[in-house]
């Protein structure tokens, strides 16, 4: 997967070109976390990335639609694009407006996550079937919202890319006089979860979780438990890059040995 030297200079430019050509395509973005951007008639209808929960996982995590009902709806639609909204509302599970809100929120959240790190490359392919897709969004609107989100976070605690990799835990004790959303987030935050992990665990957007964490830090309710790095959260492929292995094995270190006869009671080294 490579970028062409004469081609568009970033993913945003790729999306803009597809928009002008009103194409159906899927853009594969390589990197950490990377993802797949589904474009129909030039508009972005869905983005899949391991860095942010998609519409399906947020819906099921919220419990608004039961797993069995969802499976039945998916089966009825046979992965036919655009039928999901009608099927959900026909069965009285979710209104068209609710479904639209869910899908739009997921696309913007995924776009934000992809913007946190420069991609390693991208490739435009023919349209890959996308079972869960919402209304089409223009690349311009996505870019504007992503810029707004990055600016909103960067003005707070720390740069957004650093916050995305941070593991936090609440300062003790957690005050009782807090909105329930904060209490739930503080209870879920342990020293092992990144904002992305918290978003998946709670069925919320990754950006919304990061925004709440920044706010909780301002309120003095969070403590950091890991050093801040620019590294991406736990979504990175677990394959070592070639050439980065340590060139030589670490020297063998033996434990210090006691020399017989050298030990003296009340030696000078006791201070």
């Amino acid at each position: 997967m490579t970028t062409r030297a004469e081609g568009p200079r970033n993913v945003s430019a790729v999306l803009h070109t597809l928009y002008e050509q009103e194409r159906d395509a899927t853009v594969l973005v390589a990197g950490a976390p990377g993802g797949r951007i589904h474009v129909r008639q030039g508009l972005v209808v869905s983005i899949e990335t391991p860095g942010a929960p998609g519409a399906e996982s947020i819906l099921l995590r919220s419990g608004r639609v039961a797993d069995t009902a969802w499976t039945a709806v998916r089966a009825a639609c046979r992965d036919e694009e655009g039928r999901l909204a009608d099927e959900l509302s026909a069965r009285g599970l979710l209104t068209a407006t609710e479904f639209e809100v869910l899908c739009v929120a997921a696309v913007f959240d995924a776009a934000f996550v992809l913007a946190l790190a420069a991609p390693q490359g991208w490739e435009v392919t023919g349209p890959v079937p996308v079972p869960v897709s919402g209304p089409g969004l223009t690349p311009r609107r996505i870019a504007a919202e992503t810029t707004r989100r990055l600016a909103a976070l960067n003005g707070q605690w720390m740069p957004a890319s650093a916050l995305a990799a941070l593991r936090v835990q609440p300062t003790e004790p957690v005050p009782s006089l807090l909105p329930s959303r904060y209490v739930t987030l503080l209870r879920a935050a342990n020293d092992r979860r990144t904002p992305r992990d918290l978003a998946f665990a709670l069925g919320r957007g990754t950006y919304a979780v990061m925004l709440d964490l920044a706010r909780l830090h301002t309120l003095g309710l969070l403590q950091e438990t890991a050093p801040v790095t620019d590294a991406r959260p736990s979504t990175a492929p677990r394959v070592p890059a070639s050439g980065t292995r340590s060139p030589e094995p670490a020297p063998v270190v033996t434990l210090p040995r006691r020399t017989p006869g050298a030990h003296q009671l009340g030696g000078a080294d006791r201070s």
Binding site: Q41, L43, I58, L59, R61, S62, R64, T95, A96, T97, E98, F99, E100, V101, L102, V104, A105, F108, D109, P135, G136, E145, R148, R149, A152, L177, L178, P179, S180, R181, Y182, L202, G203, R204, G205, Y207, A208, L211, D212, R215, L219
Partner: protein, 120 residues
């Protein structure tokens, strides 16, 4: 492209209530606007931040439960923020009113039935 979204279609109904000059549906946490209707354009991001701040401070002051409605009254205009439960994060319905023409009680009544009507 160009078609009215489901969200904007639902919001359009609220514009028929006398005195309502603008309606927006916004994510209460992220500030993302899902749609708007009416001539008056509300700063939805600010509306979201205002609701978050009010919610926070009310809890610090000892209030319990969830925030439902905020009514801000000025000399000529009113702003109503209604929190709607959503997936994970709540949504905020922001309604701008012209005070001379609007009946606040009637508007609140319409907001009460908004989710039910939207589902119909």
């Amino acid at each position: 492209m160009g078609r009215v979204s489901s969200v904007e279609d639902s919001l359009g109904h609220l514009l028929q209530v006398p005195g309502v000059t603008g309606v927006s549906l916004v994510d209460a946490v992220s500030g993302l606007s899902y749609g708007a209707a009416g001539p008056q354009n509300l700063g939805v991001d600010e509306c979201g931040r205002l609701a978050v701040l009010i919610d926070e401070r009310l809890h610090s002051a000892g209030a319990e439960g969830e925030l439902e409605t905020v009514v801000v009254t000025g000399a000529r205009h009113q702003l109503v923020l209604r929190v709607l439960p959503g997936f994970g994060d709540p949504l905020l319905l922001a309604v701008a009113l012209e005070r001379e023409r609007a009946n606040l009680a009637l508007v609140l009544r319409h907001l009460d039935v908004f989710p039910a009507r939207e589902a119909a």
